[in-house]
Symmetry: none
Subunit: 197 residues, 4 copies
């Protein structure tokens, strides 16, 4: 325990190397050799640990998806005993999204790139779609009132996530200050909370 197999360790190192590479260059200009160099691993090994360059990207998306999923579940634990109102819980969820996802410029940079790739590569598209679907579904779960179901909550949840992504895009492109990005989102989220009452 604690000692990971070399295989898993290397795979992880490669995925982290891809992360750092994507901060500098687009995926299409990032060669297998680049990733290998960044990871300090002979480039031929990347084909030993992964099926193909695309496979690396796919696993990378999964790893990101899992990382944030775990982070979110962990974050929820902090409030699970507190007996909060739906409004309070949602504020907490929004805050998580704002601080850990949308204002993380590195993450946003990489996701703008991945969205671009997803348009043309079906496998990537599937992964990305799945990831966002889960996010939207989860968010909708927190937004739904305990008593009855509201049909348009799903659309609302999608709107919220779409907005987050739009803001993430702009925060990267316009190099917005974290404070401003937060303000932008919080104002919008406040409106959403009102709509749910």
């Amino acid at each position: 325990m604690g000692r990971k197999s070399i295989r898993e360790q290397r795979r992880k190192e490669i995925l982290e190397a891809l992360y750092r590479c994507l901060l500098r260059k687009p995926y299409s200009e990032t060669s297998i050799k680049d990733i290998g160099m960044e990871a300090g691993i002979n480039h031929a090994m990347l084909h030993y640990y992964f099926r193909s360059k695309e496979d690396i990207l796919l696993c990378f998306i999964d790893s990101i998806s899992e990382r944030y999923s775990a982070l979110f579940r962990h974050d929820l634990k902090k409030i699970e005993r507190k007996d909060l109102t739906r409004r309070e819980i949602l504020k907490h969820v929004f805050h998580f999204m704002n601080t850990h996802i949308t204002t993380d410029k590195k993450l946003q940079t990489i996701f703008v790139e991945i969205w671009g790739i997803a348009i043309y590569k079906p496998a990537v598209h599937a992964r990305v779609k799945k990831m966002y679907s889960e996010w939207i579904r989860e968010l909708a779960g927190f937004m739904k009132p305990s008593n009855g179901a509201a049909a348009d909550i799903d659309s609302l949840a999608m709107a919220v996530v779409a907005f987050q992504e739009g803001v993430g895009l702009f925060s990267v492109s316009f190099d917005l200050k974290k404070k401003d990005t937060m303000a932008l989102m919080e104002a919008f989220q406040e409106k959403i909370l009102e709509m749910l009452e």
Copy 2:
């Protein structure tokens, strides 16, 4: 007049060919030869009409920017004599954005791609940023009350455009129906209008 120089005509054809190419393949996988073939022009000529492959992309972004700018100005003419309230004008502006930009899947597809390129290529980034800045500024102009200035109107305008882009992204990725995309945006825009009152 009316007879464009052959140079301008050819340049336009090349730009339109790039548009069609980008519907099929990412920019990085679109070769100069592909664009040439699509345009029916020998690929060596593309370097005669443009400095480089990137120059084509840059001019392409400008052309899109100008096209929609012109389209918008033309659209405004329809209502310029009608003596509408700010609310009515804004609704009109939103409607233009919704129908001509955000729900145009081809356009959105290409812009998701361009956003991705813009992260890493400064020249592309500058063009894209300029284009969105103008859009935001223009929109803010319509949102500002005639009497006084509201400092946070600029943020609000950016929020609106960010939301549009987020929705555009999702409409492409989730292949949303035009009707649903419209509904998503109109609900949000209604809130914005309320906030301005």
Copy 3:
């Protein structure tokens, strides 16, 4: 007339370079670069003139096929006015096969190689099969008696060609002297002629 287009000239040079390469190394160990060097042409150009490495091989087979077909038709002209008996004509045909094909060690070397490739590559297989089918059909034409048709002439023709190929194989592998190879075939062919009477 006489001035071939560069394209055709280059394609021919490349095919001839492949011929020389195949005398030294198997196709699988002959790289595009090797062929390019042998032809004195930058290796990237080979992909300009041909679709792929396999395409070069396919065209090569066709070129061989056409060359010998033309050579054979030309050879037949020598005897077309002479009003020979079927036996005499067949002897002439056999002689052509013996001297121009089966005892040409370079050609046989290359064809042993090509037979090997044909087993696994359907496109190559199709070309080779077509070539031999035509050869067998043509030969059967000369073997058929003018008055009536003999059903098993086709099998006999195939047997003759199979024998030629077997002898070609052995002449390469055992490095047989031309004289011996000829003797082997002529004895066999004599029997065939007897069978036809």
Copy 4:
């Protein structure tokens, strides 16, 4: 006795794995890993049991050669007491060749491949040549009249084997029916028998 050393057992398994691999892919496209996987043995072990990839092929040829040699000797035992004429014995020998070798499509497939390799690899060439020499010599032994020696019997034996190989080649390439292949050979062999009388 009966219990083969593990080394010999593993070597045999590897050789059999190569046989199955060669039914699917040419030797040049068959990797050491492929053979290992097919044999259920770690690929690094193949270098423990054999010197190199080529060594495996060489041993494979030997194993085939020995297998058929043993099979043939075993087959001859069936008739050794029967006091047959030379003609009858030869018919038996031909029948063995026809049924066990030339119409065994898998075997022929592999041998077409091996012929191809033999042209360029001296070590392989030596093995193949040795194998066929033995076959021809053995066959010549059966063809020679007991009273005197006929100088050209050796050529005749080679012609017979060459014909078999030619037919084997064609039966694979033209996917001939076993029945037709048999008929082709038997007609030819009948002529040979006549020539020997």
